[in-house]
């Protein structure tokens, strides 16, 4: 379980998170949504220990992420941030293999190799595995990064806009993959999403943030209403049910 208690964060004088408290369930997919500057990425950064809050604390399975041993946390929780400018010339295989570093410190066991191949397979990367990252497109690199955190095989997986740079096919593939990981392997996945329809179709819980606070938390059915969307994004959205999922239309 992830428990966020009174987390506050300022960048300079600007408050980014205003005493955020949040409890997320044990498994399933949780989507963080909200307009630009709502504090989603910062909250994810603090939940994942990469950023320190000004005050407040984050517990994951009752471990304080900011004081627990980093190597231990790396086997419990994986985080992929939005931009991962990798300037190293590594092959896709080498990068994904580093996902096993928390377990094997780089000396791969058979178990590690299995996990790596599985992750490469999930993200359709086998044909690219010996290519250098700097020879790939942005989307292919993004998939390699996702494969890396996937084969870290942690209970908690935090992803900041994982669909960035991806074409529609790969975006859908990854959402399906994450859904499967949650359903079949009992993982808890928290991700920042910009496309509210992906959130609505794949998430169990949606957390909506606005101006550094949690504005709403609930199931897609509870949150996908014209009133909440107007409140959150300031646009008129018509919500329709397609294949029994609420889908927002706001493009006209």
């Amino acid at each position: 379980m992830i428990q966020v208690t009174s987390v506050t964060k300022h960048y300079g004088d600007t408050p980014v998170l205003r005493s955020v408290s949040l409890t997320l369930p044990n498994e399933g997919v949780t989507a963080l949504i909200g307009p630009n500057g709502a504090g989603k990425s910062t909250l994810l950064g603090i939940m994942s220990r990469l950023q320190k809050p000004d005050s407040g604390q984050v517990l994951i399975d009752n471990l304080d992420v900011h004081s627990t041993d980093n190597a231990l946390l790396a086997r419990k929780l994986a985080i992929l941030r939005q931009d991962n400018p990798i300037s190293l010339r590594l092959t896709v295989f080498e990068l994904v293999a580093f996902g096993r570093y928390p377990y094997s410190q780089g000396r791969l066991t058979d178990e590690d190799t299995n996990q790596i191949n599985q992750a490469l397979g999930y993200l359709n990367l086998h044909s690219l595995q010996h290519r250098f990252l700097d020879e790939l497109s942005g989307g292919q690199r993004q998939r390699a990064c996702i494969a890396m955190v996937l084969c870290q095989n942690t209970d908690y997986l935090l992803l900041d806009e994982p669909l960035n740079n991806l074409d529609m096919k790969h975006a859908v593939d990854i959402m399906k993959l994450l859904r499967r990981a949650a359903d079949e392997l009992g993982k808890h996945i928290v991700l920042v999403l910009h496309d509210i329809n992906f959130a609505s179709c794949y998430a169990d819980t949606i957390v909506a943030m606005d101006q550094g606070s949690i504005a709403h938390q609930g199931t897609p059915d509870e949150l996908m209403t014209p009133a909440i969307m107007r409140d959150l994004y300031g646009i008129e959205m018509s919500i329709q049910r397609i294949q029994n999922k609420p889908v927002g239309f706001y493009h006209l």
Binding site: S48, A74, N84, T91, F98, L108, I116, H130, F132
Partner: protein, 327 residues
């Protein structure tokens, strides 16, 4: 589908060939010199020259080349920039300043103590450089070494001023231009320390690759970011101090070698670091041999040969690696 975890770009015969080439160059380095040795029947005099002068020089070259190239590689991982080496981060300049201060205030102390103080200064200089980088918002790829060169220039002119005022210009010239002609038995053994440091760097190769991936990815994978950063800086500082004390600064080596190896086989240090070490040794041996042969029986210091060769290669790399496609 093969798992093919280690499909090495270099064919399997490459390592033995590489060792052979290195041994051949070392042999050549033993053979070349002003004194004429009668190889058919070595006299006592010949043995003396070989053991006191030629062999130490050759070993010093290999140790220096290896460790300087590796320290450049580590620096590039720590700073996450391809165009840095201890000579463009203020590290070497700080080590030289440390040595100068020791020559001024504690000339009687042993060379090991002096080296340690120089290493501490180098560490301080490198940390200051890292702090400087954090404070400067614009981090374009070429800006980083420029900041480092300016920073090194400031330390360098302080050093120059002190040396000028206290009549130590000659010592300063010895440290700042690499030259192996004065290496003799009893005056290079400190360099073996760099072999140990290179071995430690190899043992920590995966950690340095991870740190090169950046703070976020490295921390996500459970790396103790700060401690690995410090380990890297300590290794680089010690190597810098030892080489400045014994042979003097060899420019560009730490910059060029890791870049060439990176272009050929990538940046997975577990695999590439031995090649960086090898190429460093080979390049230094070649430059030193050139310096000894070009105007035989006189010598051109290796720092000068490397400066000429290195600056040309550096410009080539700069053009090749700052293509927009690469970023």
């Amino acid at each position: 589908m093969s798992t093919a975890s280690q499909e090495s770009p270099a064919p399997r015969i490459a390592p033995p060939l590489a060792v052979l080439l290195l041994l051949a160059l070392m042999l050549a380095s033993l053979l070349v010199g002003v004194a004429d040795l009668s190889w058919a029947a070595l006299s006592d005099q010949d043995w003396l020259i070989l053991l006191v002068s030629r062999l130490p020089r050759t070993l010093a070259l290999v140790l220096c080349g290896t460790s300087l190239a590796v320290s450049g590689l580590i620096m590039q991982m720590l700073v996450r920039n391809r165009f840095v080496e201890p000579g463009t981060t203020g590290t070497l300049e700080a080590a030289t300043l440390g040595l100068l201060l020791m020559a001024l205030f504690a000339p009687g102390l042993g060379v090991f103590t002096k080296m340690l103080v120089a290493a501490l200064c180098a560490l301080g200089g490198s940390l200051l450089f890292m702090a400087l980088l954090r404070a400067i918002p614009l981090r374009s790829m070429v800006m980083v070494p420029l900041v480092g060169i300016m920073f090194g220039g400031v330390i360098g002119s302080m050093t120059l001023f002190i040396a000028y005022r206290f009549n130590l210009m000659q010592s300063l010239a010895n440290w700042s231009n690499g030259d192996f002609s004065a290496v003799l038995r009893g005056r290079y053994e400190l360099l073996w320390l760099t072999a140990a440091l290179t071995a430690i760097a190899y043992a920590a190769a995966n950690r340095f690759t991870l740190i090169g991936l950046g703070r976020n990815l490295a921390m996500n994978l459970g790396l103790g970011y700060r401690s690995v950063m410090l380990l890297g800086l300590v290794i680089v500082s010690l190597i810098s101090a030892v080489t400045v004390v014994t042979a003097g600064v060899i420019p560009f080596l730490g910059l060029i070698v890791p870049n060439v190896v990176s272009l050929m086989m990538g940046d997975n240090l577990r695999r590439s670091l031995p090649w960086v070490a090898w190429l460093g040794a080979v390049l230094v041996l070649v430059c030193d041999l050139l310096g000894r042969l070009l105007r035989y029986p006189y010598e051109i210091p290796i720092g000068t040969v490397m400066g000429v060769l290195g600056s040309a290669l550096f410009i080539y790399l700069l053009l090749k690696r700052t293509r927009p496609a690469y970023v």
